[in-house]
């Protein structure tokens, strides 16, 4: 295994105790391990409700999904300085990975099924409308070519339908399942270095290509031109191809 001397990455896990639904921390475990296996140092800072967000020294932000109740608990915390800090960090080109509820709160607002609108951070050009029917199940999408073109398998479970404005583009195209809204075939969002997805729980472990791409992007801010050494990823690909075969597509 290659080791890289003195290279490190600062990761901020936002709202780890609130937005931690169903295996989201698998993404953090995955990033941490894939860096450590390459001898790259990683500092993970947890920023819960009520703690100030010092974004300037952070390379990569992770935000997970939450239940409706927890997302309500968050709202007052998001109104103040934290939303400003997140918007500044996004505009500065910091890397974000936001899943499900975390994806929604990076958008502009959420209108519930019964017509109540909550304002969100507005860091990306997306808004979400609550639906009556939950979109649940194993799903699969293909990342846009400029994002590596990976075939990604995951599990979605959301009633919110997210619509992107002209300021954002989808992370990929739905191959099986619903994606953003079950209508336009788009899944997730991309804006600057922000990656959003409805693939809740552990998106990254089964999709190491996407994980490494996100890590590399974050490392390059600190170390321009940085290239991650390859890792043996047999288990990762076996788990992914089991699901992609089951859903009826061959990985390529």
């Amino acid at each position: 295994m290659n080791t890289v001397n003195d290279v490190y990455l600062n990761i901020c896990h936002l709202y780890p105790d609130t937005l931690n639904l169903y295996g989201d921390r698998g993404n953090v475990i995955c990033m941490e391990k894939r860096l450590a296996w390459r001898g790259i140092g990683v500092n993970i800072k947890q920023v819960p409700i009520g703690c100030e967000l010092e974004w300037k020294d952070t390379d990569l932000f992770f935000i997970g999904g939450g239940q409706d109740f927890e997302q309500e608990v968050l709202l007052p915390d998001l109104e103040g300085k934290k939303a400003d800090a997140i918007r500044e960090a996004v505009e500065d080109g910091r890397v974000f990975l936001a899943i499900c509820g975390g994806y929604q709160i990076l958008g502009k607002y959420y209108t519930t099924h019964d017509g109540v609108t909550c304002s969100y951070i507005g860091a990306i050009d997306a808004c979400t409308v609550g639906g009556a029917k939950r979109m649940i199940g194993n799903f699969m999408f293909r990342c846009a070519p400029e994002d590596g073109g990976f075939l990604v398998t995951g599990f979605e479970n959301h009633s919110g339908r997210t619509y992107l404005g002209p300021g954002a583009r989808p992370l990929g195209t739905v191959v099986r399942g619903f994606g953003n809204n079950g209508e336009d075939g788009g899944e997730g969002a991309r804006y600057k270095n922000v990656f959003c997805s409805y693939s809740h729980g552990p998106l990254l472990p089964k999709n190491p290509g996407l994980c490494d791409r996100i890590l590399e992007l974050a490392l390059r801010r600190r170390y321009p031109g940085f290239v991650l050494p390859e890792l043996e990823s047999g288990f990762e690909h076996r788990a992914a191809s089991y699901m992609s075969n089951r859903l009826g597509a061959s990985p390529c």
Partner: protein
């Protein structure tokens, strides 16, 4: 019998029954109701027999058939039976086994849905099997564990002596939705049964909030002290107050979000329970010794099943037995003598090798199992079988919330770590990221091969299957190792 065939028989039977009834008995409304009920019961009974003759478990299909013919069949079947209902995310089955033991020790004649068929149809099957042809129950008491989501339907028909709620954790999100949905389902159920005593876990803020609007009598239970040495690290499923959304502070934590909770801003807090464990005296592979206080009378009790979570199950069962009027001495006796339920540390001998089956289904329960396994000594082989069928939960993301890292810290104890089941590859991947090298893991997909390999071991084996994996494994084990059939 496949569910498709079951549905077909049910539909055909319902059709012919309607034809006959509509033709001949249309004038006799009361008689017709009774006839409809009896037909449902008898066909249900025939279906139970047919399933057994065919060598299948059939805990579900007969009930579905009976429900098609007579939707309120359970109302008739349960009338006159003193029923205790037991629900909650984890611990339903073990709690039921203790309660069953306690009722029997008190000389009360009871039956129970032992195989864990705890949806409406399974509960109907259980009542139908235990009814005479006249529809009257053969037994005075019933111990019924009930799925949290099915409870709101079951409580439309059964008017129980008490309802015990063991705890509420996140569980199978694809099926139950968020924990707040489970909670609201339990609240609806409580409103259906105003006459029932509620036995509630005082240490679980979610469970406790189920009684917020209820006027039912309540017996509370809990544990006054930490169960495990050292810091409890698992995720909390309820960090914020159900009333005012402020953060809960804890005087102590037992595991998950259970413990001495109090809201940081409003009056909402844990109350001292009526039935509580005040001290953990010792814990080992064969059980836990505790001091239990039952309405201020103190007893030393031995809980006949290892694992910290079984301390809670013992408290829940004690509360339930108290609601049934069982004396303290008998309760303590039951705690020390009950036998683990279906797949709950159930012990098998596979070709002379001791194998324990421990069902896993959600992060809180699985963390407790890991905790138990890590606290043991002596070499052992661990096997994890992960399926993702409907009864397991189709979303397996939860394995990333389980502290398998703790297992990796006990490699000294492991003679091997094997994975199997439909999603074996995902399980292997999780374990890789928990700290196991690819070479330390073995994927064995075929259950026959898996059982052969287990039978060739020299050290004890712990098998952790999800629900349908357990059912599949049992099917093969029953045939190959001449085990008792589970519906007997």
């Amino acid at each position: 019998m496949s569910s498709g065939a079951g549905d077909l028989i049910a539909a055909a039977a319902a059709y012919f029954f309607r034809r006959i009834v509509n033709g001949a008995f249309v004038c006799y409304n009361a008689d017709m109701k009774r006839l409809r009920f009896l037909t449902a019961l008898w066909l249900g009974k025939i279906a139970v027999l047919a399933c057994r003759v065919l060598g299948r478990g059939g805990t579900d299909m007969p009930g579905r058939l009976a429900l098609k013919i007579c939707p309120d069949v359970l109302k008739y079947l349960s009338s006159g039976v003193n029923t205790v209902l037991i629900t909650g995310t984890n611990g339903k089955t073990t709690t039921s086994r203790i309660v069953e033991r306690g009722l029997a020790a008190a000389g009360l004649d009871c039956f129970a849905n032992r195989s864990g068929a705890n949806l409406l149809s399974g509960i109907v099957t259980c009542f139908a099997s235990n009814a005479k042809l006249s529809g009257k129950s053969r037994h005075d008491w019933a111990v019924i564990e009930c799925d949290e989501a099915a409870l709101k339907f079951v409580t439309l028909y059964i008017k129980p002596v008490s309802l015990t709620v063991t705890n509420i954790f996140r569980d199978q999100l694809d099926r139950y939705g968020e924990v707040t949905h489970t909670l609201s389902s339990i609240r609806t159920s409580v409103a259906n049964i105003p006459g029932a005593v509620l036995c509630l876990n005082a240490d679980c803020s979610l469970t406790w909030s189920a009684a917020d609007d209820a006027k039912n009598a309540v017996i509370s239970f809990g544990v006054d002290v930490p169960i495990y040495r050292g810091e409890v690290s698992d995720l909390s499923d309820a960090p914020y107050c159900s009333r005012c959304k402020s953060r809960y502070n804890y005087d102590y934590r037992t595991f998950g979000h259970l413990g001495g909770w109090r809201c940081s801003s409003c009056e909402n807090k844990r109350h001292q329970p009526d039935i509580r464990v005040t001290r953990i005296l010792s814990s080992g592979e064969s059980g836990t010794a505790v001091v239990m206080s039952i309405f201020d009378s103190e007893y030393t009790a031995r809980i006949n099943l290892a694992g910290g979570y079984n301390v809670y199950n013992a408290c829940a069962a004690a509360a339930c037995l108290h609601s049934a009027g069982v004396g303290d001495g008998t309760v303590i006796e039951a705690l020390g003598s009950f036998e683990g339920g279906f797949g709950r540390m159930e012990e098998f001998s596979l070709g002379g090798v001791s194998a324990r089956m421990i069902l896993v289904k959600n992060p809180a329960g699985c963390n407790q199992v890991i905790n138990y396994l890590c606290s043991g000594s002596g070499p052992a082989l661990f096997v994890i079988c992960l399926n993702d069928r409907a009864a397991d939960g189709t979303d397996i993301s939860w394995i990333w919330d389980v502290e398998f890292e703790n297992l990796a810290a006990r490699k000294d104890r492991l003679t091997g770590l094997w994975v199997s089941g439909v999603r074996a590859d995902d399980m292997a991947l999780r374990l890789k990221y928990a700290g196991f090298d690819e070479g330390e893991l073995r994927v064995i997909r075929d259950y026959n091969e898996l059982l052969d390999e287990i039978a060739a071991q020299s050290s004890p084996v712990y098998i952790m299957p999800t629900y349908t994996a357990m059912m599949d494994l049992r099917g093969i084990m029953t045939k190959r190792f001449k085990l008792k059939k589970f519906w007997m």
